[in-house]
Amino acid sequence: MKKFSFHSCGNYREDYAEELKIFETYFGRICLGLFLILFFAVAPFVVSAYMLYILNMIGIAAIAAIGLNILIGYTGQISLGHGAFFGVGAYAAAILATRLGLGFYLAIPAAGIITALVGMIFGIPSGRLKGLYLTIATLAGQFIIEYVLIHWDSLTKGTMGITLPAPKIIQWEIAGDKAFFFLIFISLVLMTWFAVNIMRSKYGRAFIAIRDNDRAAEGMGIPIFRYKLLSFAISSFYAGFAGALWAYYMISITTEPFNLGLSVEFIAMVIIGGLGNIPGAIFGATFITLLNEFLRFFTGLLMNIGFVVSFGLNMAPLREFTFGLVIVLFILLEPRGLAELWRIARSSFRLWPFSY
């Protein structure tokens, strides 16, 4: 019997296979399917170029945020170096594309793999360090990578930056926001699906076990260090992949954006979206990207108001202030993040229209 319900009101599962499903109901699955079809068929053709640009940025950020969520939210290893890993991915793709002339379909995954290797190297301290000591070691990673990117002139061209060729499939060039929209969001859908699958298999369970009680995890036969490294590798793969997409999208890259601030933004996405929740990372990426854009727009607006100009006030710091304030409020008011708000919204549809 196929049950079709909006949201089940109890546990009606009939065999163990049903418990392995991602979606509790067919309704959920169909909804997501419809949403994706609509999204791909409609969004790129109706929204403005600026909106499309923002959507693309959200997509890229979401891939990186999913990766970080695997590391922080699931494995419990706080990393302050995700921004740098994003940069490693961007530079790896740029160098592979310009020096070796790899096509983007090879350069992007290869950049992800290179970043995963770098991530594993910076994950090595996790074998001995715990909690805050590890956090600071990843902070060290952030600074060391930043330094290398800037000062390894022969490879990265230092502060000059690198310009990437446009990605090509045989003869057809992927250029412009619309083409990138498809590249980015198809990647996002795939990467999300991989992440969800990893998390419901033995690997994801092992990560959670390490987060919750590493000694017991070891007692269950889980080689902790190897899994921590794996988590660092997966997370950096996502960061590197996103960074590579970003590099192609931006066409030309410099070392500037990959600073601690970017790492902090990624963490903010993960927390505001919801720790240990994969859709949450997408929500978080959306929220933070939109917030940044909004604040940029708003402070720009303020700067042009007559009296502000006449007083010579600089409104730009307001952006930083508000950004901080939003994070603080979010943590204080809904520490479980947007994913929790989404869950609450959905569960009020339980038994809809006859909610109790």
Partner: protein
């Protein structure tokens, strides 16, 4: 018929070679920072035995267990299991070798459900690759379902059906101990090490636990090492008892021999005898 269904087939169908559990410890010594926690202890555990280790708090019982299960590294001595040297193996490798354990101060994952806790113990029995798990291929699904069936058998055996979806942190203490046993069984160990499984339990819970342990030991031939302070249980169910004091073995023998052993009475049991 409940009685038949409640026997995990993984345990029943264990082949003889999977039951084999010969543990041999030779002059084991463990020191931390000047204190000798375990002092040249020898111990042999044979297949099918239920061996108890008793002794005052701080006598080195848990330290000894931690050496066997790889949490501590002894300075001297050898531990072999079924003929292989396991002294230098890591904790997670020992699980592969077939040694499972429960902990003195429950080490469950309090935020997870009972089922999720037990599923973790199937980790070493999950054989699919990383790529397969990324795609969640049908083979992964099939394997996951098989593990679930095994877990359900253990849940049935330990009479935990009603709590399988409950968060472990919300369970009463005695239940948590039972979940921990269930999780250790899900590892399919050849040797099960139990560190104070009865502590903090009331009589009823103790009786249940004794019933499970005896069945595991007698009917399924699971070899066990038991560390416990409740003498009435230890004396009743264990075949052999070793007594530790200040890291040294001060006695070994059957329950009768130990309860009459003058040094054991002085150091551990006290003059009022069995509590």
């Amino acid at each position: 018929m409940k009685a038949f269904r409640s026997r995990p087939s993984i345990m029943i169908s264990r082949r003889e070679e999977n039951k084999k559990a010969e543990l041999e410890i030779k002059s084991l010594r463990l020191t931390f920072g000047g204190v000798t926690a375990v002092k040249d202890v020898d111990l042999n555990v044979h297949t099918g035995e239920l061996m108890a280790i008793i002794g005052p708090n701080g006598a080195g019982k848990t330290s000894l267990l931690n050496c066997i299960t790889g949490f501590y590294r002894p300075q001297k001595g050898r531990i072999t299991f079924n003929g292989t040297d396991i002294t230098d193996l890591h904790t997670h490798q020992l699980v592969d070798v077939g040694i499972g354990r429960t902990f003195q101060n429950i080490e469950l994952f309090p935020g997870m459900t009972v089922l999720a806790n037990m599923t973790l113990a199937r980790h070493i029995h999950c054989h699919y690759s990383f790529i397969h798990s990324c795609l969640f291929s049908p083979s992964v699904k099939k394997e996951e379902i098989r593990h679930r069936q095994i877990l359900e058998e253990i849940i049935d055996f330990l009479e935990m059906q009603s709590i399988r979806k409950k968060t472990v942190g919300s369970l009463p203490y005695g239940m948590m101990k039972r979940v921990e046993l269930g999780r250790a069984l899900a590892l399919e160990p050849k040797l099960l090490i139990l560190d104070e499984p009865f502590a903090g339990m009331n009589l009823e819970e103790k009786e249940d636990m004794v019933r499970f342990l005896l069945e595991l030991n007698q009917r399924w031939g699971l070899t066990m090492i038991l560390v416990e302070h409740d003498m009435s249980i230890v004396m009743n169910i264990s075949k052999r008892i070793m007594v530790l004091n200040f890291g040294e073995k001060i006695g070994e023998g059957t329950a009768e021999e130990i309860s009459g052993h003058p040094e054991v009475i002085r150091a551990y049991l006290g003059d009022s005898g069995i509590l």
